[in-house]
Symmetry: C2
Subunit: 118 residues, 2 copies
């Protein structure tokens, strides 16, 4: 269930702005406030079934965006490659005899890591 | 006009799969085949006005995706930073006295450039 919320959260972070205001509100309560469907239902004073349907529909919509665009996958591939390069540069640092370039390499590593978390 | 087609082409490369089949067909004739609206109209045997409306609508839809998601902007920022780092590593190469690491640095530069064109 946690994995499911995380998956929706990841999709939502990319494509959430394409959902309706209503859908966004429910997804945010579900994911960021970590409320159960029952709690959201009480909160918004609508049936649990309506909440369930909305969340399910939003999930499908978000998955559909990723199926078509694959932008999350593209970013993940980028980040994986950046992580690998960052580690390799870290390793280079230990091998360089001339320590004058340590600061330069640290700066590159930091900027790569920044791109990874961005 | 060329700039306009390039802008739509860029948007289309990211979000094109969210358009309808019909819209995609016209945009592709317009951008990739570089046909004029009149030529597309003859080609598909529909009025020039219908072609114009479809292309305009597609353009608006694509711009709307970018306004909401800013994913092109995000990728461009990533790429700009990668380009800068790639140039800086190129410069480091000229400064290193120990040439044993040239191959390693060339490999990093190549992979960064690959991420830029991906």
């Amino acid at each position: 269930m946690i994995e499911k919320k995380m998956e929706i959260g990841n999709l939502y972070a990319f494509y959430g702005k394409l959902l309706t205001e209503n859908q966004r509100q429910m997804i945010e309560l579900y994911i960021y406030e970590d409320l159960s469907l029952g709690e959201i239902s009480q909160n918004l004073n609508i049936s649990r079934q309506a909440v369930y349907d909305s969340v399910k529909r939003s999930e499908k919509t978000l998955q559909n965006f990723e199926e078509k665009l694959s932008l999350i996958q593209k970013f993940e591939t980028h980040k994986k490659e950046l992580r690998e390069m960052s580690l390799e540069i870290e390793l280079l640092k230990t091998k360089l005899i001339d320590k004058n370039h340590d600061q330069f390499l640290d700066n590159i590593i930091e900027r790569m890591n920044q791109l990874i978390i961005d």
